[in-house]
Symmetry: C2
Subunit: 358 residues, 2 copies
């Protein structure tokens, strides 16, 4: 097929307070398979006054989502534990940031696909549809709520389980869940969608579909991070949640680029969190992304964000090489950014040079 | 539920030339039920060089889509014929404008729900899920490609079959299919999405979700109908197709208003086509929709569209009353436009007054 035939999120429940409807939404699906739900929840919520609509034999796992992308070993272990104790669940519900979204998506696939998740890192390697899965994002910007990728960090690579079954059957988009996000995390994660849209727009895969979603996402980002009422407030919580969704949908027909390639290397080698790693890289890509990098700098100033400089002085050659080797494997990103002749411009030395800017 | 939990279009294949992939898209679904597809196609395409990927026992119906909304009797007759000759189809594929989209959606539901479609005109009256159905719009603006309504004209009312199963499992959005639409039809149908967005934005149900989609749709409409390169051209065919989709999605969380209520009356009594009926009404609603009506007038001038004036002088009191009685039943539209106290302002006389402006 020349044109992607993409799988949409099955159902969307949007609105402030919509989280309270989660229990009701799950009810009709509770009798599937062994009749219980698995909730994977960011452990930030463990000691908070936060109600999870678990009942009966449901399992609730609180997971630390504050590190880099989830590891394939985490998914494999969790899958084995779930299946061996109660059999195939009726569904998986992820509540949290991008890592928790990815865990929920990956688990929903790995409960029906045998062997380690390492086997399935890549495009369309998954053999069987997964089970019903629901995403409830509690921070905005990752686009993980609509993407067909569950990004995982494996022993050899950081790469997603990417197929049409990865997409959530249901998402609940409640901007009220994002009100307590600390400012720096709010900023870095929000920049993820800003950068998605810029990268989407500056490459060969960009089309009218990507542009319609991307333009609106950028407009919302500008209001949230540079507008008259910039900052964290209920109105902007709504806008940023939609910016994240639209940024993700923009990527459906397009692709990320140089910044994400560099960011993946940083996360893999140093465990740097994705949104923050993006900001570290985007900060130094003015020659590639032009005015968007100036806009980014304005946003950084507006929210007093401290981005470290001269980090690369502390990195060994081995570390820079390791990052560059991760980055150069992401051929689809380089291809999107520079076109089919990208190898004329981009080699390991070029990428090392980009890392040395940081 | 306070917040709508809406069913998305299942899969979307977007892009110029994507129609050529329709056969490939249908292939995996061909073995369902009695293993044949039903194509309902606007009869405009019957004598054109237009390839329909029918095979084997597939049925192809060419249907005149140039009148008002499809009649419940058409749906009932077609359903009876299809079921009695070959049994339950694997799927229904609609190719054409809003009417053909509605026919495909309604048929997909009525092959599994007994009795006349008249029984199901309204919200959530359909009892069983329908069958797999695919929408291929060949004109942009109706939003029928994403809505949960199949609008039908019955013996007593013009009202949709509205439920989550109405939504297409698959749409193919190929802007190249819209290149041959005559200018006036292109204009009237395009205005449908412009008016959707204006009505969506000026009522009590409007929210950030509706606004994000509606703002982008309006932006695209402005480029297509008032921009530097306004008019029918390949770039604008792409933009208008997305404007239509986004306008429809804006309505998911919002509602149409006064213009659509009046338009339904016109279509019901005089058989006026939907997009044209909208334009006839919107033309005279400056006191309600303000500057948007000025913008509409600019677009009318730009494309030399002749909208009749003083039509109401030729209407009988009975006709005006009949239209008003249709319009006033659309309580959800008046409620959205004027709020829960709408009955203080809107009664049959008020609506007759609106029709007499035309």
């Amino acid at each position: 097929m020349n044109h992607i035939n993409f799988n949409n999120i099955g159902k969307i429940c949007y609105g402030r307070g919509s989280y309270s409807q989660l229990g009701e939404i799950l009810e009709p699906r509770r009798n599937d398979n062994k009749g219980y739900m698995v909730f994977v929840v960011d452990d930030y919520f463990e000691d908070k006054d936060f109600s999870i609509p678990a009942k009966g034999n449901d399992l609730v796992y609180y997971i630390d989502g504050s590190h880099e992308e989830p590891k394939t070993s985490l998914i494999d272990d969790l899958r084995d534990e779930i299946l061996s104790t109660q059999g195939l669940p009726a569904g998986i519900v992820g509540i949290g940031g991008g890592s928790l979204m990815d865990i929920a998506k990956a688990l929903s696939l790995m409960v029906t696909n045998e062997g380690s998740s390492v086997l399935y890192q890549g495009l369309n390697l998954i053999k069987k549809p997964g089970i019903y899965h629901v995403g409830v994002p509690t921070i905005s910007g990752t686009g993980a709520e609509c993407s067909m990728t569950a990004v995982l960090s494996g022993p050899e690579k950081k790469l997603g389980l990417k197929c049409e079954w990865t997409v959530f059957n249901q998402v609940v988009l409640d901007p009220d869940l994002t009100t307590t996000v600390p400012t720096d995390q709010w900023f870095y994660t929000g920049m993820d969608t800003f950068i998605h849209c810029i990268e989407s727009a500056t490459g060969i895969k960009y089309n009218a579909f990507s542009k319609a979603y991307g333009d609106q996402s950028l407009e919302l980002c500008r209001e949230v991070f540079l507008g008259e009422n910039a900052g964290q407030n209920p109105e902007n919580d709504e806008k940023l949640m939609l910016a994240s969704l639209f940024g993700g949908l923009s990527l459906t027909y397009s692709e990320v680029g140089v910044c994400h390639a560099l960011s993946y290397g940083l996360s893999y080698v140093f465990g740097t969190r994705h949104g923050y790693a993006n900001c570290l890289a985007f900060n130094h890509l003015k020659d590639i992304y032009g005015e968007a990098v100036d806009e980014f700098h304005d946003m950084v100033v507006r929210f007093n964000i401290n981005l470290p400089v001269n980090m690369s002085a502390g990195w060994t050659d081995e570390e820079i090489t390791a990052m560059s080797e991760i980055a150069i494997r992401l051929e689809h990103m380089w291809n999107h950014a520079f076109g089919p002749g990208w190898k004329d411009k981009v080699d390991l030395e070029y990428i090392k040079g980009l890392y040395r800017r940081l």
